[in-house]
Symmetry: D3
Subunit: 251 residues, 6 copies
């Protein structure tokens, strides 16, 4: 198959606000680190909110160390994720809601709704709707849609005004086919591939994933070109949408 760069969509905008809601402290790095870096590089505001530190279920590297305890794991995760976010050019906040399982309490809901109201995101990135391996992830998906709905409500009490109808994009789960994930957008992250790599390398607790997600970005990069993207692209991230896009262009 030949693959002329006939259908590349427009370039990265420069005035958007992006909110990434990450179930655990590291998910945003592996799965949306490229989008975060790309948008930050172009001057957009990128905010990460981590519902939990992933202290129990996604820190096996730390738990292998003798004498480890939860407080130490949380601190390490917070440090790593903060440095990774900084490397990507994103602000970060932690809700510390616990993991395995994540407790989607009313209090957690209030916090995310209020952040949505305050930030007024144009775009929200989060987990896919289904993940039989990780109920925290699929719970986060539904939780984000619920908070988006509340933040839209005219009668919800808040000092900030209601949000509009931000697009919701789902980043790629670890085993996409088992999660019903179908890419609808391949995002060219080649210009920031090195930035994402730096951020991933910061995540010491899950260092075995650096190669996995680097390979994945190359794989999505090959598909990027196959689907008509510019041949210069090498690394890409895949996203699925929840809602239809609007506008005046067919691609």
């Amino acid at each position: 198959m030949t693959d002329e760069p006939s259908s590349a969509a427009g370039g990265t905008p420069t005035d958007r606000t992006v909110l990434i809601v990450s179930a655990h402290a590291a998910d945003f790095v592996w799965r949306a680190g490229g989008a975060a870096a790309l948008y930050a590089k172009h001057g957009n505001a990128v905010h990460v909110r981590c519902l939990s530190f992933g202290e129990r279920g996604e820190s096996q590297g730390l738990w292998k160390q003798p004498g480890m305890d939860v407080a130490t794991v949380k601190k390490a995760r917070r440090d790593e994720s903060s440095r990774a976010a900084a490397a990507l050019g994103a602000s970060i906040g932690f809700y510390d809601a616990g993991d395995y399982p994540l407790a989607f309490t009313e209090g957690l809901q209030d916090r995310l709704v209020e952040d949505m109201r305050a930030l007024q995101p144009d775009i929200i990135l989060t987990h896919a709707a289904r993940d039989p391996y990780n109920l925290d992830h699929q719970g986060t998906h539904e939780f984000v849609l619920r908070c988006r709905m509340i933040a839209q409500a005219a009668g919800h009490p808040s000092e900030h005004p209601p949000i509009g109808a931000p697009q919701v994009l789902l980043f790629e789960p670890h085993q996409p086919e088992q999660c019903g994930f179908v890419p609808q957008l391949l995002l060219d992250i080649s210009p920031v591939a090195d930035v994402k790599l730096d951020a991933m390398r910061i995540m010491g607790a899950q260092s075995h994933l650096v190669d996995y997600y680097t390979d994945l970005a190359r794989r999505r990069g090959v598909q990027y070109v196959r689907n008509g993207g510019d041949r210069s692209a090498v690394h890409a991230e895949a996203y699925q949408r929840v809602f239809p896009v609007t506008g005046g262009a067919l691609i």
Copy 2:
């Protein structure tokens, strides 16, 4: 729900080539007339190819006239569709392959492949993958994908070079839910709504559809705003994609 214009994608491009493959001579008017007019208005090249005239199955208005015959129906349909295409700003070609059922012969395939090679479209618009009411429509879907594949083949003999990987967008079937159609793009056709209306009114053989598709465009227009599009939009057309889009923007 509030609906701020927070997520509108970019404006209409100006240098694309669009190919619309219509099973019958009028399908493109009802279902993609807005896209055709919008792209033509912005200087893009828009080409329509009708596989058949829809002379048997989609011309009941004509067949109600006494003494009607196939040649007369075809001529009337050709005239109507040609005028509608002109009104939209599109070129048009007819393959006259018969309808109810459409015969997807090797000869028909050669013609469409050669046209794809000659036109080098960036975007192809055609029917949805499934339509239990109209097998000609779902047959056209598969046929277009097959011809696209052939036109991409390096070893396919032709005086024209292989095509790249044009995006394929599916326009809305008459009863979308029964066809598994899910809108992924709502296209703002408000600036050309009057042009589409003029084109639809030309289609005398199916005049009962003018109101139906005008209502539909308003319905999709309301949804356009609900999904974050600019509040000035009134009329829209819905499209589903076959392949992921590529680019540097999340929306």
Copy 3:
């Protein structure tokens, strides 16, 4: 396509009990107002239960008025919905469980289960299984199925006997394709179209929806005839089922 009235199912029965469970105080008007009016007109008992008033998320018209507060919104919604139900010929009850988000508490469950036991409905109408725009709606779907199950339990303590196996029909969400909604029944509401219109006009807080749902009823009416229904039909409502129907007739 010709469209002879060859497959119309039987007429409206006269001795059924219909229960409509509406997430917010107005949903039943837009989406099932025709069914309610039609069944009431034929002497069936029609009962509406609104889980919340939709005071926060579905009353933007009211919130635009200066000095508005929740109590006033609730009262206005109660008044509107009560008058609309009366116009349709249905009884109505309000559970006032809050909205955006609706809290599906044990207490709410007890109330609906007890009402199901007391009313012994033959038919239950409620929301679709999935609605990414409105988690209250999809929550209501699951909640209704859960309450139906409890109300069937021989060992559930109540002064009323267990219910049988009432059919559950889902009315049409605002953006059906995004919700996986597929019409399995098109209900001819032409004889009560004016009644539904009157009821819709009562809903002052969401008056922009009157045209939207009037257009929708005409659209479904056209499809009604296309699917073999009597040509006299002009307005219809679409429903999806959860369980198979039983009986001695193929249509």
Copy 4:
């Protein structure tokens, strides 16, 4: 779960025309024999059309006999199926189009279209859309939809007028879950269970299926009551629909 007979749909009509399109000469007996007998018993016209005799792929009992040849198998199958149809109260016709694979030629299409035009069926029963075990079955599904579309075309030349929009119901494949078959209608065939049993017993070439389909009818009968049907029902057949039903009743 209790199971009160709360939702039984109306009784069997008396003035319909039913057309059953069977890929092989025996399929209609196992899968729609109850519907055929029930409708015939109530005075409806029931017509069976067998596209092939199933002489190669569905007559293993006959092929085990020494010296068997195709002509003899066809004759035996024709005799059996004719007697079974007579037992059910249905007329029958054979197109002898060959099996394994069935050849869906233009000639075959002309015959079925013309029969549809001549019979003007209100209801068509045929195979499910997918069957990875039996491509003849899934081919027949698509073929029937295509012929229905052609028979509807105003411009299709025929001495008979176009058909309307007959409902299409799919009878149950041998392994329903593998075929994506979901029952939407459970038809009470208890009043004709003995008639169907007699018809099944006539099918000597596949006698091992008599028990299998008798058990299945009982299984569907239990589900019939579970889904709210009258408790007197013992045997049922399951059907899936292609198009929405129309009418004035919710069940």
Copy 5:
């Protein structure tokens, strides 16, 4: 179709630990009794955990007796299920979490997670992901996946080590097509069919199900042979998987 025993997978292993999580006290008997007996017979450890007794919703036989109360129903259910488990060769435990609805509390979660940690199962059997008739069943599905995830977490506090990645198999719901259940494994339970029958007969509260599930096992047995299994098989149980299997064999 001929059906040579060409594709039978290997024999029953002898050193596995199987955990069956049953929403109500009897579900495991009807739906996984064959697997339990087969694995127990071969020396594997088989453990059943019943989240509730099904005292309200699945004991209608008992509730028909005058003067019945919940404590008596629970005791009867415990006795029956314990004897059935013993007949099958399985250990059993009861969590008594209530039914219709089952309350998936944190306490219940702690118990199942701790049991998973203690038992270290290789295989988990439980309910399907969706069951519109029985929300307790679909709730159990999600609950089991959640507990599995927690039991895998390195940082979850417990005296037992984390579990690995046990396979999860879903047993067959009462009306499989309505639950999206698709068999991926047909398990030959012929060698223990009499054991399962004995166990089913112990379940006095739901005796009407003995025939239903005996018929079902024969039906799955016929399909077993049709799908290439050994012709000696007569009874089978169907299972669907959640995760891909791993190994060095294609079947």
Copy 6:
């Protein structure tokens, strides 16, 4: 997540006959080369049948050479594929049916049916059911199922006896999510990874795919361990099934 090797299925068998049906001459190398090498290494018979050489659509490397013609491309492809099959330990046959599009003629059908009859495969490997990028691939899927059905027919004339019910496994398409491909089996090909690499390197016309499929095997290898497979596995291939497996083991 920890990932103990708790659920590995049994080892590779030694007496099976495997038939791989490849649309184009190289597909089997990229997608099933590991399975072929693994089964061959264990003494099983592995046969490849290539429906076409992929001379037009999958030989762009060759067509870039000046003065290339179809006969030369075919010869090169035949040579490469023959050497690759030999490297894998498989026999190979070419049907030369043309590509882009592949013509699924009656003659082609006769050849594959006869080969199925002669080879009596226990296992068939072929393409997935859907591939919008490559209609030849999805056509091959349906064609293989059709030929399998014909080869099973007792009355199909042949000197070889009917086949049984061989399992059909689908190998991974190039962009699996777009093709509805869901892995149900991860096959450990680590012991033959070097053999597959050698075979891939022989395919000079598509050398850019060697890295892509090597990366993919590592990715599937990581998932292999994640899904409970032995930690020693490094490379894996993914397969989806068409039919349920049968046997006496749950995994």
